[in-house]
């Protein structure tokens, strides 16, 4: 991925010098041209096309914003409810992500999504302990987290 970005920057600078206009617009034009070249020649460059990964990161950010808004709606509803009938508790979520930054990202995303808050990570990094507002549907939130966030993170990192 870093290799492709370097190639892309080199193409952009080449374009700037070839067209002899040293300004931001010509740099951007060169960069876009480099993207096009990399896309056309993607079979001969190592690794997958790097814009794909950027699109996945963008999808992760959009997912995060959506979940943040819905979690706030949930928590505001709970705050103004007359009868506080939630049932808090702590459950364990088995995780598949391995590296440190993936676990950190996953824990942060969990903390800002509806009804869940990461409290601790187990000693062998295989479980995240999550405090939930509604422990009775912990099964549902486990499958939800595994199917949305963990999948999105794995798509970015693999």
């Amino acid at each position: 991925m870093a290799f492709q970005i370097v190639i892309n920057l080199i193409i952009a600078f080449l374009w700037m010098f070839l067209s002899e206009s040293y300004s931001a617009p010509s740099f951007i034009a060169g960069y876009l041209l480099g993207l096009l070249l990399l896309f056309v020649l993607r079979r001969f460059v190592p690794d997958t096309f790097y814009l794909k990964r950027f699109l996945k990161i963008g999808a992760l950010v959009l997912l995060f914003i959506k979940e943040l808004l819905s979690s706030n709606w949930e928590i505001v509803k709970l705050v103004y409810k007359r009868k506080q009938d939630f049932e808090p508790g702590i459950f364990a979520l088995p995780i598949d992500v391995k590296s440190n930054w993936e676990i950190t990202l996953l824990a942060n995303l969990i903390s800002l999504t509806p009804g869940t808050l990461s409290v601790a990570i187990s000693h062998d990094n295989t479980k995240i302990y999550i405090h939930a507002m509604h422990i009775q549907d912990s099964e549902k939130s486990i499958s939800e987290i595994k199917n949305t966030f963990e999948k999105a993170i794995l798509e970015v990192s693999r």
Partner: protein, 129 residues
Amino acid sequence: MIETWINIIINILVILSLLAGTFFILSSSIGIVRFPDVYTRLHTATKAATLGVAFILIGAFLFLYAAHSIVSGKLLLAIVFILLTAPVSAHMIGRAAHANGIKPFLKNRGDAYQEAKDEYIKQHPSDTN
């Protein structure tokens, strides 16, 4: 003519985002008063307050852009840093509370983390962590 309309629309957007921000912060403080224990309070203190501050910063960004035509990158960066740091601090407060033995408010379900900790201490009696 069109410019005044754009100004009016941007002003309405600024007002709406400031109102939303203050509403979320107010809800979060009411939640801190009403909820029963540390962990449930952390829920409102992180989520609602984060979004509230983010909305207020977005409102300030729009206002600066409309009134003084300043594109303030600092405000956008502040949103990013709040989104990065709020869950981390919530995690640390929750973990510290649990490590200090503060029992979560439970109705009839168990505390999986406490069980795992007890199990761990049973297996590693010398480790006090």
